[in-house]
Symmetry: D2
Subunit: 337 residues, 4 copies
C-alpha cells in the first residue's frame, strides 16, 4: 500500500482524493489545506487524517500529491523531496522559469520519484497515438496539429493569477506536442486575440484565443490552437500526420446517442463538459502509473524536466507574441540544456 498525503483540497484536490481512494494499492492517509473547511470535508469523505500543516501530512505519507495553488508548488516539492517522499505535483511547477530551475537543482540527486500532472499523457487515446508514432506506424512523423478549447472561460479572478493563456492553458498542449514528437521544438511562433472577452487584453494583457506554430530541428511542424470557450463542450483533438498514415485522437462524448431528423443526421451529444469528466480515466491512469514508478523505481511518464520544458515553450510563446517573430527556445534564459 502506498500511503498518500494530499496537499490542497480544492476542485482538483478532491478529484485526486477520489482517484487515490479507488486506485488499487493506494491509500489516502492525510490531507491538508490552509482552508480548514475544505480539508475537513475531504478528510470526512475519505476517512483520513486532517493534518495541521503540510509538514505533518508529508510526514505520514510515502507519496505526496501537491494540488495547492501554483505559487506554493516549488516549495512543497522541495519539502516533500527533502523528506524522501515521492512527489506528484500538479502543473505548472511554477510560473517563473527561474524558480523552476532552482527547484530542479534543489531536488536533483535526492533520488525521489517526481511526477508532474500532465494528465493528457495518460489518456488512452492520446497515449495509443503516441505509442503508434513510436512504433513507426505513421512512417516518418511530419506534422502535429492540436486543437484544445475549454468549454467556458474561467472567472477573471482565476485568469488574473493564471500566468496567461500560454503558461496556464496551452502548457498542456506544449507538453502533449513534446510527448508525441519524440524530439524538442526549438522555435516557437505565437499570436493571440481577446475575442471572447474583449477587455482581457487591455485589462490583463492576456488573450483568450491563441495560435502557435513550432518547429523542431529536423523540420517537423506543430500547430496548436486554443480557445477559452467552445459552445459544444471540451474540444480536445490531437492529430499526428506521417508519411504512411495520419492518426487522430478525437473527442469523446458522455454517450453514443445519435439523432437523425429533418435538420441533422448523425448528431451526437455535446462532448464532455470539461477535464474532470473528459480525462477521468487519464487522471486515474496517471496515479496508477505514478504508484508503479515508485514501486519499480522507474522514471515517471511525466517528469520534472517535462514540466520545465513545457514552461520554456510557453515562455517562448509569450515572447514571440510580443515580438511577432519566431523565438528560439535557446533565447529563453535558464532553459534546460
Amino acid at each position: 500500500m502506498t500511503k498518500f498525503a494530499l496537499l490542497g483540497c480544492g476542485r482538483i484536490g478532491k478529484m485526486h482524493a477520489a482517484t487515490i481512494s479507488s486506485a488499487p494499492g493506494a491509500e489516502l492517509v492525510a490531507v491538508y489545506d490552509p482552508v480548514t473547511d475544505a480539508a475537513d470535508a475531504v478528510g470526512r469523505s475519505f476517512g483520513c487524517k486532517v493534518a495541521k500543516d503540510a509538514a505533518e501530512a508529508i510526514e505520514m505519507a510515502d507519496a505526496v500529491l501537491i494540488a495547492t495553488s501554483t505559487p506554493t508548488h516549488a516549495d512543497l516539492i522541495e519539502a516533500a523531496a527533502n523528506a524522501g517522499k515521492a512527489v506528484f505535483c500538479e502543473k505548472p511547477i511554477d510560473l517563473d522559469l527561474k524558480r523552476v530551475v532552482a527547484c530542479r537543482k534543489a531536488v536533483s540527486g535526492l533520488g525521489v520519484t517526481i511526477q508532474i500532472g500532465f494528465n493528457r499523457r495518460f489518456d488512452p487515446g492520446h497515449r495509443a497515438l503516441r505509442d503508434a508514432v513510436q512504433r513507426g506506424e505513421l512512417g516518418e512523423l511530419q506534422q502535429v496539429v492540436i486543437t484544445s478549447r475549454d468549454p467556458h472561460i474561467a472567472p477573471r479572478a482565476y485568469l488574473q493569477v493564471s500566468g496567461g493563456i500560454f503558461r496556464d492553458m496551452m502548457i498542456h498542449d506544449f507538453d502533449l506536442a513534446r510527448f508525441v514528437l519524440g524530439e524538442e521544438p526549438t522555435a516557437v511562433f505565437a499570436t493571440g486575440s481577446a475575442l471572447i472577452e474583449r477587455d482581457l487584453e487591455t485589462e490583463l494583457g492576456d488573450v483568450d484565443s491563441a495560435m502557435v506554430i513550432m518547429r523542431t530541428d529536423s523540420g517537423k511542424l506543430v500547430h496548436i490552437n486554443n480557445s477559452r470557450a467552445a459552445s459544444y463542450g471540451y474540444d480536445q483533438r490531437l492529430e499526428a500526420f506521417g508519411s504512411k498514415a495520419m492518426l487522430i485522437s478525437s473527442n469523446r462524448s458522455p454517450n453514443e446517442l445519435r439523432k437523425f431528423d429533418g435538420q441533422f443526421t448523425d448528431a451526437g451529444v455535446p462532448y464532455y463538459d470539461f477535464f474532470p469528466s473528459r480525462y477521468a480515466e487519464a487522471f486515474s491512469n496517471g496515479i496508477i502509473s505514478f504508484i508503479e514508478s515508485i514501486k519499480n523505481g522507474s522514471k515517471p511518464d511525466s517528469t520534472f524536466d517535462d514540466g520545465e520544458k513545457a514552461l520554456v515553450l510557453a515562455d517562448a510563446a509569450v515572447l514571440s507574441k510580443k515580438l511577432g517573430r519566431f523565438v528560439k527556445t535557446s533565447e529563453i534564459t535558464g532553459a534546460v540544456s
Copy 2:
C-alpha cells in the same frame, strides 16, 4: 455508338434520358410517351426524334429503355426483344408473376440482352460490399440486414396501383439481399403496419411499415425493414455480417458539412432527398454496364431472372404477412426453378 430509344418520359424516363445522353458510347435517338407533351419536352431537351408510337421508336434503336407504367412493361419487353433489340426495363417486370413467367418464356432463346433496372446493384458502395463478400473478406457470410426507408410517402393514387409495399418498394431490397447473399432465400416471414397513414390498411389493404426475415438453405439470415417516410432523408443502409468482418454500405449526404454546438456535435446535413440524387451515380453506372453487356454479349449484372426472383420473394412476403408464418418460395406458383 449504341442508339437508344426511350419509352416513357415521366420522372424516371427523364432521368434515363439525361443519363443516356451523357454516357460515353450512347446516343438517345428516339423517345415515345402516350402523353405527347411529355415526349415532346424530352425530345426537345435532348434533340432527338419523338416517335409516333413505341414501335417506331424501337425500330430506330439498338437498345430500348422501358420506363413506362408497370402494366406495359412485359408487352414492350416482348416487342423490343422480338425486334432483336437489347432491352433495359425498369423494375418490376410485372406485378403478376404469371405474366412475368410468360414473358420470360416468350423472350428466352431470342438471344437479346435484357437488363432489369435494379439500380442499387450499381451503387459504388453496395457493389464494393458485394465484391468484398465474394472475395471472402468477411469470412463466411452469416447475416444481412437492410434498412430501406423512403423520405416521403407516395401519393395515394400511386400507392393504389403500386402492387403494395412488398412488390413496389421492398422488391429493391429483396434484390439487394440476393445480390449480396450469393444464394437464394427460400423461406420468407413478413409483417407490416399502417403507421404513417392509418387508413392505408383498411382502404388499400396495404401497409407503410414492414419487416421481413428470410432464410437461405444454408441457414444464412436476412432482415429487411421498410418505412414509407423517414424524416431525415432517404435511408439506405446495407449491412453484411460475416465470421471475419462486418461491412456496412451506409447513407450518403449531399455534402460533408458537420455542425457542433451546445446541442449537438458532428451533426451532418440530412441524407439525399430520394433515389434520383442518392443513386445518381448508380443510374449512370447501370446504363454504362448495360452498354458493355450489349457490346461484349455478356450477361447483364441484373437479369430478367433477377427480376422474376425478386418478385417471387415479394409474393412470398405478401402471403406470409397474410398467414403469419414462414412461407417457402417453393409455395409460390410459377417460380423459376
Copy 3:
C-alpha cells in the same frame, strides 16, 4: 449506508463487489459462494466477512445481490425477501416460467424492493434514447431495431445450461425493446441458425445466430438480431425510428483513436471487448439506482415483472422458432396478465 451481501463470487459477482465498494452510500459486508476459494478471494479483496452460508450473509445485510448460478436464483430471492431484505438479482429469474410465476406469488405482498439485473437499462446512451422517446422527441415511435452480438461464443459447458440463445442472450434485448417501446410486444416470430458452431443445433438444439420480429397491438414493429461471435468486438446498437426523428444509441470504444492510411480512413479501434467494459457505467448506475429505490421506497427501474415479461417473450420466441409462425404472448402459459 446500505449494507450489501453478495451471493455468488464468479465473474459477474466480482464485478458487482467492485461496483458496490465504490458506490457512494453502499458497503459490502458479506459474501458467500459454495466454492470457498472464490468467496475467500472476494472477501479478502474487499475486506468483508465470508459467510458460511447464504442465510448468514443475508442476515447481515440490508440488501442482497444474487449473482449465483441461475437455478438458485428463485430460491434465494424468496429467502432474502422473506427475511425482509431488498433484492438485486441477476437475470434470468429462472429459465422455467412456472418457477418464475411461483416466485412472484411467493414474494408479492412482502413489500421488499426487488430489482432484476437488466444492466442495459442503465446505460447512459440507451437510457437517453428511452427518455427522448418518452418525451415525444421522435414523434410517434414506429420501429425499434436492436443489434446485439457477443464478441466470442461462450464455452459449450456454459451453452449447455444457458437455456438457449433466446432465454440466455436475447432476453436482454427483449427487455430493452420493452424498455423503449412503452407497450408490450404481443406477437413474436423467431428463427435462427447454427452458423458459428455448426453442431450446436444437433448437439444442444440451440443456435448461435438468431433473428426475431415482434409486434405490439398498436402495430409497432421490432427487429432483434443476435450473434454469439462478432469479430470487431461487442456490438450493441439500439435504434428507435419515429415519425419525427430516428435515434441510435451506438457502440462505444475504449478510446477515440482514428487511423487514416492508404487502406482506410476514420478507422476506429475495435469496440469494447464485452459487457464488463462496455456496460461498466451501466452496472454502476444500476446499483446506485437500486440503492435510491431502497431509500425512497420507489419502484426500481427494472422490476421482477420486467424479468418475467422478458422471459415470456423468450418462451414465445422458442415456440415460434419451432412452429415457424407468429406466436402470441397469450399462448405462453402462466404469463403475467
Copy 4:
C-alpha cells in the same frame, strides 16, 4: 446558349471541356492548344472546332476559358477582355504580382465578366459553411483552420515552375480563408520544411510541408497547413469556429462503405484521390455560376481581385518564411488597396 472557347487542352482543360459540354446553357464551340494533338483530341471528343490560334478561338466565343500554362494567363485575359468576351481563368493569374496588377489595370473598365478558377468556393460543403457564417449561425467567427494536403507530390518538373508551395498550392487555401472570413487577413506568418523530398529546399528553395498563421485587423485567427503528400487521399478540411458553434466541411469519399473487423471499426475507404474527383461538383457549379454571372451581368463569386489578393497573401507568406516574422500585407508592394 453561351458559346465557350477553351484555351489549353491539358488535364484541367479536358475537365473543363467535359464540364462545359454537360452544363445546361453552355456549348463548347472552339478549342486551342499549342500542342496540336491535345487540341485535336479534345476537339474530336466534344465535336467542336480546333482553332489555329487563340485569337481565332476567342473570336468564335462569348466566353473564354483559359486553362493554359500560367505565364500565358495574363496575356490571354487581356486579349479576351479586349475582344469583349467574358473570361474564366484558372488560378493563378500570374506568379508575379506586378504582372497581375498591370493586367488588372488593363482590363478594368472594359466591363467584361472575369472569374478566377478558385473551384473550392463552389464546393457544396465549403459554400454551405460560408453561408452559415454569413447568416451568423456561428455567432462571431473567431478562428478558421484549414487542412489541405495533396495525395502525391507533383513531379519535379512541375514543382520547378510552380512558383512554390505558397503561390501554387496554398493559394487555394488563402482564397478559401478570405471566402469564409468576410474580412482581409493583414498579417501572415509562414514556415515550412522539405520533409517528403528532402532535397527540395536545397534544389529549388521550395518546401513540401508548410504551416501558416494569419490575423485580421479585428483579431480573427487563421491557421493553414499543407502537405504535398497524404497517404490516405486528398485531405481537404475547412473548420470555422465561432462563439455559438463550430462548423467543419469535412472530407468526402467515393462511397460510404465502412468496415468493422478485429483491427478496426467504422473504417471508411480512402478519400477521393485528388481534385478532379473531390471537386467534380465544384468545377461544374463554378461554370454554371459563371454562366449566370454573364447572363445577369452580376459580379462573379470569384473575381479578379480575389485572385490578386490571394497572391498578396502568398507573397507575404514567402517573405515571412524568409524573415521568420509576421509580415503585413501592406508590406507587399503593389497590393490592391
